[in-house]
Point group: C2
Chain length 367, copies 2
C-alpha cells in the first residue's frame, strides 16, 4: 500500500518518513527513543537528507534497526494508532465546526410587532407568510408588496429572512407599513433547497408556538404563502382568502411556463388540474394558488420537509397532503362569474448583473 | 425590358400578353378594336391558348399585325402608358392604405374620469403619466402599480395605451382604483421608437389641451412619468414629487446596468451625474428620476420627438432641454439625510414565453 520513497541510493517505506516527519516536529520521541546514540543527529525533516556518506550509512543502519524492531515490538502499531488518532481528531473538529455553523444557521431571531389597533373580529384575519432573501431587487419587490398588503385590513405579515440576522432596511420597511408583523431571521440549514422551504417551515413552527401573538384574539384566521415578487390584486385577499373555510384554491397567472395554472373545476368541485408541468401531483397548484384555515395548520405538524419525492420538486402538494387534505376539501374561488379574472400572478423580477463592490453607492443602502 | 413569352412555337412580347389579359377581363377593347373579324374568337386568357392550328395561325397573324401597327401607330405608347398608369394607381392605393392605417394609429381615443371627490387644494396635485402596452405581464404590473398609486392623495393618472382602442380590462382596473384618471388609446405612429415616446408625447399634448379637466382646479400640479413595471415607495410621491417647485431630481435604483443612477449633488446643487451609460448627457437621468411642475410644461411645446440625437437614444435629456431647463433648475431630493434611501427602482418583469393560442385560458382574460 505504501509506495517507496527514494532516499539517496536506497529506499525506505514512505510510512516511516511520514511518521518521523510528523513526530519530530513536536517531540521526536519515537525516533530518538529507538537509538539514543543517534538521536541527536537524526532529524527526519527533509532538509536534513543532504548528509555525509558516513551519516547516511549510520542513518540507514538506524532505519533498518527501527524497521526490524518495529516489526517485533508494539511501536509500529502505536505510531500507527497515534497517526490515525490525529486524523480522527482533525475530522471530528471539522464536523464540530460544520455542526456549529449549522446550529448558528438554524438560530431563529424574530420580532413581532402589533399595530396596537383592535382587530375587527367580524373580519377573518389573514396571515401572510413571505420568505425573502438578499438580492439587488429585494427592497423594490418588498416595497411593491407592502404597498399591496397595506390595503388589506386585519392582516398579519410574517416575513422570514434567509439570513442569520434581520436586515435593518427590511425591518424599517415593515415598520413603515403600520401592519402588525413578525420578522424572523432563519438561515436555510443544510438539506433544504434554497427556495424558501426552510423559511416557510420556520414560519409554520412559529405560528404553532406563538398562535396568540399572531392572531391577537381574532376569531378566525387564514394562512397564505405569498412571495415578495408576485403580483396581487387586493380582491384576492378580500374576496377569496378572507372567505376560505378550510382550503381555498384559485387560478394563478404566469406560472410553470404557462399563462394560467388552475384547478379543473366542475360543478364547484376540483376534479383535476389544468397545468402543464407535472400534472400527476395530487395538488398541482403553485404556492400562490391556495390559502389554508389556521385551524387546519394547528391540527397538524405538517411542514415543508427537507425532501419531498411526491411533489417532484414542488413542495405544495406535500404540504397539503401532510395536512391530511383531500381534493374534495378544496374550495374553488373565481370560477362562477361570467368574466373570470386572474387575481394573482407569479411574476419574477429581472435579475440584473450588478457588481456592488465595483460601484460607489454614495451612502445609499443596496443589497 | 420585356422578356419574351413562349406561345406555341413563336414568341410575342410579354407586355402585350399582359395588356390583353388584363384588358380582356374588363372590356377587351384593345384586342377587339384592332381586328374586328377576330374579336369574337380571340380571348387573351391563358386557358384559351389550347386552340386549333387554324386559329393559332390566325392568332399569329393578328399578333404580327398588331405588332406592326403598334410600332407605327401610337397604340404601343398608349398601352405602355395604360400599363404604367395601372402600376402607379396600385402604388398610390398602397400608400393611401398605409397613410390611412397610420392616421387610424394616430387617432387618439380618451376617457377622463373624475373621482368626484373634492381635491385637497392644500396638497399639490400629482399627475402621473404611464405609457403601457399589451403583454402577458401587463395586468400584473398595472395591478401592482395601481396598488401603489391608490395610496397617494390628489393624484390624476394618465394611462396611454399603445393601441388603436382602449383595453377593457385596463379600463376596469382603472375604474376599480377609484382614482381620477384619463385613459388614452394612441398607437405609435411610424417614426417613433416603440418605447412609450409617442404615448408620452400624446399625454403632454392632452395635458396642454385639457388642462382644466386634469387639474380640476388644483392650485399647483407636478407631472411625473412613471412606467408600469417600476417599483415605487409611496414616499417618492408624498415627500419628493409633491414638493417639486420646478424640476425635482433623485436617485433611481437598478437602471442602466447599475445599482444606482443619481445626480452628483454638491452643496444642494447638481454638478454632474453618477451614471455609467452616456455620462455626457446634459441631463443624464432616467425617466423615473425626475418630475416637472405643470407650469413648466404648459409654458413650452416640448414633447418626446421622433428623433433625439442629443440624448443618444435617451429622450429624457431632450425633453428637459426642450423645456428650456438648465442643470441649475434641478432641485435634488433625498441627499440631505444621513441614511440615503432609494424610493424608486427601474425594475423589469421577466418576459416569459407564453403561447396564448396554444393554451386554453378557460374564460380568463389574458393579453
Amino acid at each position: 500500500m505504501q509506495s517507496p520513497v527514494d532516499l539517496g541510493s536506497r529506499t525506505i517505506p514512505r510510512a516511516l518518513v511520514v511518521l518521523c516527519t510528523s513526530e519530530t516536529s513536536r517531540s521526536s520521541s519515537e525516533c530518538s527513543n529507538d537509538d539514543q546514540r543517534l538521536s541527536a543527529s537524526v532529524s527526519c525533516s527533509s532538509s536534513d537528507f543532504d548528509l555525509s556518506i558516513s551519516f547516511r550509512e549510520r542513518y540507514e543502519l538506524l532505519m533498518a534497526r527501527l524497521l526490524r524492531r518495529a516489526r517485533t515490538t508494539r511501536i509500529w502499531r502505536r505510531t500507527c494508532f497515534v497517526f490515525y488518532l490525529q486524523i480522527l481528531i482533525a475530522l471530528f473538529t471539522l464536523i464540530v465546526v460544520i455542526q456549529l455553523s449549522s446550529s448558528i444557521g438554524s438560530r431563529v431571531i424574530y420580532t413581532t410587532v402589533s399595530n396596537g389597533v383592535l382587530n375587527n373580529n367580524l373580519l377573518t384575519q389573514i396571515i401572510v407568510i413571505t420568505p425573502t432573501y438578499r438580492r439587488a431587487s429585494r427592497l423594490a419587490d418588498m416595497t411593491r408588496m407592502a404597498n399591496t398588503l397595506t390595503h388589506i385590513e386585519n392582516l398579519h405579515w410574517i416575513v422570514v429572512e434567509d439570513n442569520n440576522s434581520p436586515v435593518a432596511a427590511v425591518e424599517r420597511l415593515l415598520n413603515r407599513t403600520g401592519l402588525p408583523y413578525t420578522y424572523i431571521a432563519a438561515k436555510t440549514v443544510p438539506g433544504y433547497p434554497r427556495r424558501g422551504w426552510y423559511q416557510r417551515t420556520v414560519a409554520l413552527q412559529y405560528l404553532r408556538n406563538h398562535t396568540d401573538e399572531v392572531t391577537e384574539g381574532a376569531d378566525r384566521s387564514v394562512v397564505y404563502f405569498a412571495d415578495d415578487d408576485n403580483s396581487y390584486d387586493i380582491r384576492l385577499f378580500n374576496d377569496y382568502i378572507r372567505n376560505v373555510r378550510k382550503v381555498g384554491i384559485w387560478a394563478v397567472g404566469l406560472v410553470g411556463g404557462v399563462l394560467i395554472e388552475m384547478p379543473d373545476v366542475r360543478n364547484g368541485t376540483v376534479v383535476g388540474w389544468h397545468v402543464v408541468w407535472n400534472k400527476k401531483r395530487k395538488f398541482a397548484t403553485d404556492m400562490a394558488g391556495f390559502a389554508i384555515a389556521l385551524d387546519v395548520i394547528l391540527n397538524s405538524t405538517a411542514v415543508f420537509g427537507t425532501s419531498c419525492k411526491r411533489g417532484l420538486g414542488a413542495p405544495e402538494t406535500c404540504l397539503l397532503e401532510d395536512l391530511g387534505l383531500e381534493r374534495s376539501d378544496l374550495e374553488p374561488f373565481g370560477f362562477h362569474q361570467e368574466h373570470r379574472e386572474l387575481l394573482v400572478w407569479h411574476t419574477k423580477t429581472v435579475k440584473g448583473t450588478y457588481n456592488k463592490r465595483a460601484q460607489d453607492t454614495h451612502g445609499f443602502f443596496v443589497e
